[in-house]
Subunit: 109 residues, 4 copies
């Protein structure tokens, strides 16, 4: 661990990235895919931004904080969209995104 | 360029990754999203496998050839699925995938 | 979780990817960078292959098993190299890679 | 192409990502690795930020512009560091980074 202050945020981002991927893949297998399109889009952006934020924090990169700020935005938007859908994977994703947004906002502050 | 024999395959993989991403994002905006679900799934797997194959070749990694073999499989499957759909982004993606499969098969041989 | 049989392997890959990234970034800050060059190379390949294996398992992709097979190879090689170095980050990385290799070998079987 | 205004920036980011990867992998094989450590660090951050910016633009994501802004910063820093080193791969990387920074700055404006 290069920078221990990042530890819980790295875990939150890494976990949120996989939860968003799971949500996107699960949405694609639902009957109402059309209704889930925006959720899938936000899941994918959020997953990629979480992954890159985790990577940059892991390296204690000079861009880690700015990546966290961007990641927090994507997490907030994804949480808001996922919360609208009753699917279990969406509810779980909303929760992971909210937790990750809080961690990222603390890091970006 | 660490290993010039990879040059055209790196280009094909890098270009195919973006074409697959474009196809997935475009499929998500079509009216018949449900019918495109399998196309979106294959696009995403193919995009990620193309991206990692390009990375490993760029580094002249010992795993580059095995990554190309796996990438070629994903490209063949994605091309076959995309070819079934009349959308321009699917037809373009089928073509990019076929070209990338040929390059990767040559590298993996 | 689309495919619960992947759960522990996804965790191992996701954790190993971050441990390899940490090891690479830490090696780059050691005084003996030159001696760590091969370790850094293997760390990076291993991190990227772990990340893509985790992604594909998360999606229950048809390429997940082949990605696990390739990931297991990279993990075995990275563990062997890391084990040669006394740095704590290398020893931890060797351990994470061995555990990930075992999980991936079970999935690829 | 979902959003044609991004076309040249996507190409610049995609090409810069591979050039940064090539530079990092080449630096690791130089005799003076120690002297190249900061270059390798910036190359890797820049490569990852270019890759995610290209992805987000490809999807016409709401986060594309902010990702371009962050990418432009990494490109400027990486170009400045690479320009200090006489290695051909560093000079080429400096040039790719400068071009990518210009494209990203235009997109982020």
């Amino acid at each position: 661990m290069l920078n221990p202050q990042y530890q819980s945020c790295i875990q939150a981002c890494s976990s949120c990235a996989l939860t968003c991927e799971t949500c996107a893949a699960s949405c694609l297998r639902e009957d109402d895919v059309k209704m889930m399109a925006r959720c899938i889009q936000l899941d994918r952006d959020c997953a990629d931004l979480c992954a890159v934020a985790a990577l940059l924090m892991t390296r204690d990169s000079p861009y880690a904080q700015l990546a966290c700020r961007l990641c927090a935005q994507a997490c907030r938007d994804c949480a808001e969209e996922c919360a609208k859908h009753a699917h279990a994977h969406c509810q779980e994703c909303a929760q992971a995104c909210r937790r990750c947004a809080e961690e990222c906002e603390r890091m970006a502050a």
